[in-house]
């Protein structure tokens, strides 16, 4: 089956800064793919490139259509099928528009005639009182506003929803409401979703697959349970260890966590993560390969396509044999 969204070799450069480097992933139709990583890892830039807000090289395909060349008819139709919900609904809704106007603007040109009815339907779909149409975003709560933003995105009848940290600006109790809404919409409408978050608990709840990003690159991807249970890349392990969870065994020592927060991405050849890596050359002088060779090229042969010289390979030979020393 054709993936709902297929990204390959996506690269985004801003001047001399490369924000996203050669990112590839497939979003299976009807599934939710999580993009996780720390701030500045390139997850939001990837999302923006996918909806055409950032200039990129590489290919983005929506279903059968190529969305890479911005002016073609194919790309325009492809873009309608991908709609984005932004992190902060306070700023992503025009403060002058009423709720009704916000949602109506998302409607495709053909449905403008029946606007009032469609807007009410959409508001009901996201469990909002249709009487709110005359209100302005400033009069709504954060959760209500985010639901308006979701209704606006759904107005275009998308196949793929890009959700960029949609719950990051909400209270915990409201987060649950929005997350459950997204899960319900996915089931009801058969939506595929690219779900961006730095919260692994939320990702576990929402996603089928996960791609972990570090320094503009996907360093590991796979099924969500598999990644969470058998993380291959030391960066993924550090992310997991950073989640405080009741009853969970600690994966890293305090010293290792401290090291992981110390330095920014390493310059020059070798692995980007080597300065922060709790099992890398900073700790283990024997791992010289991390400072000389880019772990990228061998990734397809490794489990989870991990961008790490010491990740397990698909053949089953466990290069991280001494994984016990991590604990």
């Amino acid at each position: 089956m054709t993936p709902a969204l297929s990204v390959s070799d996506l690269t985004v450069r801003y001047g001399s800064v490369t924000a996203v480097r050669s990112v590839s992933f497939d979003l299976r139709a009807g599934s939710v793919l999580g993009l996780v990583g720390e701030s500045g890892s390139g997850k939001s830039t990837t999302a923006r490139a996918v909806v055409g807000l950032a200039p990129f090289t590489g290919t983005v395909r929506v279903g059968e259509r190529d969305a890479s060349s911005p002016r073609s008819r194919d790309a325009r139709e492809a873009r309608r099928r991908v709609q984005m919900v932004f992190q902060d609904s306070r700023s992503s809704l025009d403060p002058r528009f009423t709720v009704g106007q916000c949602v109506a603007e998302g409607l495709p040109a053909g449905e403008r005639r029946d606007q009032g009815r469609r807007v009410r339907e959409l508001l009901e779909l996201v469990s909002l009182d249709p009487a709110l149409v005359r209100n302005r975003p400033g009069q709504l709560s954060g959760g209500q506003r985010q639901r308006v933003a979701i209704a606006r995105a759904l107005a275009a009848r998308p196949e793929v929803l890009v959700a960029d940290e949609v719950t990051a600006s909400l209270d915990v109790s409201v987060q649950a409401v929005v997350l459950n809404l997204l899960r319900r919409l996915r089931a009801e409408l058969g939506l595929s979703m690219l779900f961006i978050s730095h919260n692994l608990a939320v990702v576990r709840y929402m996603c089928d697959d996960v791609a972990v990003m570090f320094n503009g690159r996907v360093v590991e991807q796979g099924g969500v349970d598999d990644i969470l249970a058998r993380a291959q890349h030391p960066y993924t392990r550090a992310l997991l260890a950073a989640v405080p969870e009741v009853g969970q065994r600690r994966l890293l020592s305090d010293a290792a966590i401290e090291a992981s927060t110390a330095a920014s991405p390493a310059p020059g050849p070798g692995c980007d993560y080597r300065l922060r890596c709790p099992v890398g050359p900073a700790v283990d002088p024997g791992r010289a390969i991390c400072t000389t060779d880019d772990p990228g090229p061998g990734a397809p042969e490794r489990v989870h396509a991990a961008v790490c010289h010491f990740a397990s390979t698909r053949q089953g030979t466990d290069a991280l044999a001494g994984s016990g020393e991590l604990r």
């Binding site: 923006r48 909806v51 055409g52 807000l53 325009r76 873009r79 309608r80 709609q83 984005m84 932004f86 902060d88 700023s91 992503s92 809704l93 025009d94 403060p95 002058r96 603007e105 998302g106 005359r134 302005r136 400033g138 933003a149 606006r152 275009a156």
Partner: protein, 342 residues
């Protein structure tokens, strides 16, 4: 406050489908908003009237002596002072003046004895003939120019465009309007002989005074418009609209223009108020028969009723302009209307 009560619906609305509450509360803020702005205008006008009165009496020198000449006998001066009511105590003079302003009697010129009101009646329309086209032109130039340069220079793009724009508007902005008027006059009247030098003699005589008035304010307003538009272009809701493939024309008309209007109009009102002062200077350079030439003569001759009259009219024009902008902001920006009530 009486208007607020009479315009309100008397009882619950007849239609049960529409609850009475939201309709009534939607109409009421409007009335309260306009009423509060009107009240503010009245208070400002009172301050203006008082200020013109006090200002003239604070200016050193005896206007009567100056009007009658150095040779006038003390008895004559005393007689004239009595005729003008200047021998009365200040509070009494103030009450008299206030009563005059309210009834439309602005007194008579000390020098020519002509009623100030009549003089303003013939001269002020000429000033408006300069100021109104200048206002309109400033806005018609500044909005599109500022918006277009903002679009061309957004996100650090168009370095050259930005450089040219900033330098040209900076130059125009820093040239005072009377210098601009003089330069225009030298180049186009003395040099190229394209336009008449002075006076109101036909359509061609408007060109240079209006141009001298427009250039500076248009330059500074277009800079403000550009900065405000850049801010809006960088917001998340504009980005969200772009991600929805909203056509550019609609994006600018629906999202960018309305959202930059609040700040642009507020600054614009200040700039346009300055334009009123500009007319005084520009009128003098081009010998325009408006109130600007009147006031400069009146000041030299210490013809204080005339000075008061002109200041009053110009000041009232500025206040009125500001109120119109305030109400306009209320129409354009629902938030400022709500904010006024809190």
């Amino acid at each position: 406050m009486t208007t607020a009560t009479t315009l309100e619906p008397a009882g619950p609305l007849p239609s049960p489908a529409l609850p009475a509450e939201p309709t009534a509360s939607r109409a009421r803020p409007w009335i309260r908003f306009v009423a509060s702005r009107l009240l503010r205008l009245v208070v400002s006008l009172l301050v203006l009237v008082t200020a013109t009165f006090v200002m003239v009496h604070l200016v050193p020198g005896d206007p009567v002596q100056a009007a009658l000449g150095e040779q006038a006998t003390p008895q004559l001066v005393e007689l004239r002072r009595h005729e003008l009511g200047l021998d009365q105590p200040l509070p009494a003079q103030y009450v008299h003046y206030l009563r005059g302003v309210v009834t439309g009697d602005l007194g008579r010129s000390i020098v020519t004895e002509a009623p100030v009101g009549d003089l303003l009646g013939t001269r002020f329309p000429n000033t408006l003939r300069l100021a109104v086209p200048a206002f309109v032109l400033v806005i018609l130039i500044a909005l599109p120019v500022g918006l277009l340069t903002a679009v061309r220079t957004r996100g650090g793009r168009g370095r050259v465009t930005r450089g040219v724009f900033v330098n040209v508007t900076g130059l125009f902005n820093s040239v005072p309007d009377y210098v601009m008027a003089t330069v225009l006059s030298v180049v186009f009247v003395v040099g190229l002989k394209l336009f008449p030098a002075a006076g109101l003699t036909g359509p061609r005589s408007y060109v240079l005074p209006v141009a001298a008035l427009v250039v500076g304010p248009a330059a500074s307003l277009s800079r403000i418009v550009r900065v405000e538009a850049l801010k809006v272009l960088d917001t998340e809701y504009v980005r969200a609209a772009k991600s929805r493939r909203l056509p550019r024309r609609l994006l600018y008309l629906r999202h960018v223009l309305p959202n930059m209007m609040t700040a642009s109009l507020t600054f614009g009102a200040m700039i346009l108020s300055g334009l009123v002062a500009g007319t005084v200077l520009v009128e003098n350079v081009f010998g325009w028969p408006g109130v600007g030439t009147v006031i400069s003569q009146a000041v030299i001759q210490k013809d204080f009723p005339l000075v008061q009259g002109v200041l009053l009219v110009l000041g009232a024009a500025v206040l009125l302009l500001n109120m119109v902008v305030d109400v306009l902001l209320g129409v354009l920006d629902p938030r400022s209307r709500l904010g006024a009530l809190r």
